[in-house]
Symmetry: C2
Subunit: 355 residues, 2 copies
């Protein structure tokens, strides 16, 4: 594509906007979606906004057989002046590019990614919630669409973006979550796909998450393949607040580097807090809980922003963190991040992009 | 579904049958496909044969975001009397059930799986090749189709089957293949999806396979996470013929248990050959090549049946096997298996199902 021309075909049957109380997460989709197609011969072509409608896929499409699927999670926020902003879209584009390289896919160029999303949100702007704590969740997705059966990378792709208005995961009365320490199933291993937001990573995670939910835990904490080091919480990265440092597992190929993780590290550095990325042993967490050195645990992610963890439990032990209450570091980071996102605090890091 | 009623909607524009010389693998699809739908509320419903046509999928479908996709590979053969047979379809159904359990999916019942495939092949029977070494490749596929964004198992599935006439991988003049021993990327790890035919496993494998192809190797040999033991060859299981035993890696959760692997073990046992399933060290292979103890290496898979390996190579070593020629064990197994499949030899194991 030489210049980014986006055709628009509007829905003939717009849906009613859901009320903010019923939003939850990922249940409602807006009226439209953005798509662009790629083939080895043509490059990227046919950037278009259409009604939210079924995608016609060849039954032999690579995404259905060989898992060529990558996605991103982003948010748009409505400020008090009514205008809408994106939070760090370049971070998500960059991560999609890195994932595409690993999965032998072709990522959309930056302009296509960002301008496509902006154009889509302009069309569905009425869907960006006004209520505090609510936002528009954005799901950019890249799939291999060529129909064939020999195992090889697809020569055709569709990049599409869908939108879902969502409510706060972490309201005033939100309780810290209980997390199950997973010791049977593995999310990722060295040489695998763990650092990418590949659909494949989630396929393997569903069983552990489902079993944890049955035991009344919100999510699982994934460990490394030797079950010695802490990795991530499936849909969130994880931070541990010790007496003298705030620690998060370093990115060594098996952990997804989250946008909120990255933002939290930047914010903590700006606050002159002792934040460190390093390998974190599960035993260190347990020892810290026993000695009182462990003050807080929290998850970071686009959906939840900051999610305090009140309990970590495994087959034969459990620890309660900060008396199962929201701690001061979690609270401060949540206020700071949501303050910047909502426009209540200055955008000192230049993270917001006006739509 | 109380009884299996399959509706049939025939194509209005049947395609020309490709000539057997041009078949290759997975390039041509037949005129029709079989589908059945599932929802938690309705169970399995709407078993149907339709023209081969695009599947309309919700853009939020679980298969596109969370990788809920499983497939199978099977073959149908045409016998000299013109009648068609399936090779071990129950094996594939059973494996799909096991994979579905691991991926929190709902597998089709056995009757739906087998009768659906039989009915589809009856409709497209003209597409089953007559030529020696050719067959009809069958791709049963299960995907999560519910549209939502919270990470959880889908409540809706589609089971579909598509068909592709294919030629022999291993004709009279076929040369043994060269295989790259992969030491950087990992296919599967304990606690993961390695024993299932999940699309997710293939997503992670494309990069290693692509890099190997650039170096002129047909496929990669995957090792375990510590790079000590041999696992499989991506689209094939692997066997090693030593002086006094025929060895294949045992199934310990990270290896896909192939139908041809299983059939080869049964055939070798019937021949009173010393076949053993156990862990196989890469060093043992290298030592065997050096000492002359290693006589043959071959892969087994539905597509290739038996594929002799003429060379194994890694970054800093390579070994040539059996002077890069087809060995007697590979030849015997190929003749035996294709003899049974084609009806030239008696079906003493009761592996064939008439369509």
């Amino acid at each position: 594509m030489n210049s980014l021309e986006i055709s628009v075909r509007r829905t003939l049957s717009p849906k009613a906007l859901p009320s903010s109380e019923t939003l939850g997460f990922g249940k409602y989709f807006t009226d439209h979606m953005f798509l662009a197609s790629y083939s080895t011969k043509k490059g990227w072509y046919d950037a278009r906004i259409t009604p939210y409608e079924p995608l016609p896929l060849d039954p032999g499409a690579a995404v259905l057989h060989y898992g060529q699927a990558l996605f991103e999670g982003m948010k748009a926020f409505r400020h008090e002046d009514g205008k809408c902003v994106l939070f760090r879209p370049e971070f998500n584009w960059q991560r999609m590019c890195e994932g595409a390289e690993r999965l032998c896919m072709v990522a959309p160029p930056k302009e296509l990614f960002i301008e496509g999303i902006k154009a889509l949100i302009k069309v569905d702007e009425a869907w960006v919630p006004k209520e505090k704590g609510c936002s528009l969740y954005i799901r950019p997705t890249l799939i291999g669409t060529e129909g064939f059966l020999g195992v090889r990378p697809s020569d055709e792709y569709i990049f599409f973006t869908i939108l879902s208005p969502v409510s706060s995961y972490f309201g005033g009365g939100a309780k810290p979550v209980k997390i199950w320490v997973e010791q049977d199933y593995t999310r990722a291993c060295p040489g695998g796909l763990g650092s990418t937001k590949a659909a494949a990573n989630y396929a393997g995670s569903l069983k552990a998450a489902t079993e944890a939910k049955k035991k009344n835990y919100a999510q699982v904490l994934w460990l490394d393949i030797q079950r010695e080091y802490v990795e991530e919480v499936g849909t969130m990265n994880v931070f541990f607040v010790f007496d003298n440092e705030i620690v998060t597992p370093s990115l060594e190929g098996t952990i997804l580097g989250g946008g909120i993780r990255n933002s939290v590290i930047e914010l903590l550095k700006s606050m002159n807090k002792p934040v460190v990325e390093r390998k974190v042993k599960l035993q260190e967490i347990r020892d810290g809980a026993a000695s009182g050195r462990l003050k807080e645990v929290f998850g970071t992610g686009t959906a939840a922003v900051i999610s305090p963890v009140g309990e970590l439990a495994a087959k034969d032990w459990n620890i309660v963190i900060n008396n199962n209450e929201v701690g001061p570091v979690s609270k401060k980071l949540y206020d700071e991040l949501t303050g910047i996102q909502s426009g209540q605090l200055p955008d000192s890091k230049n993270w917001l992009l006006k739509i």
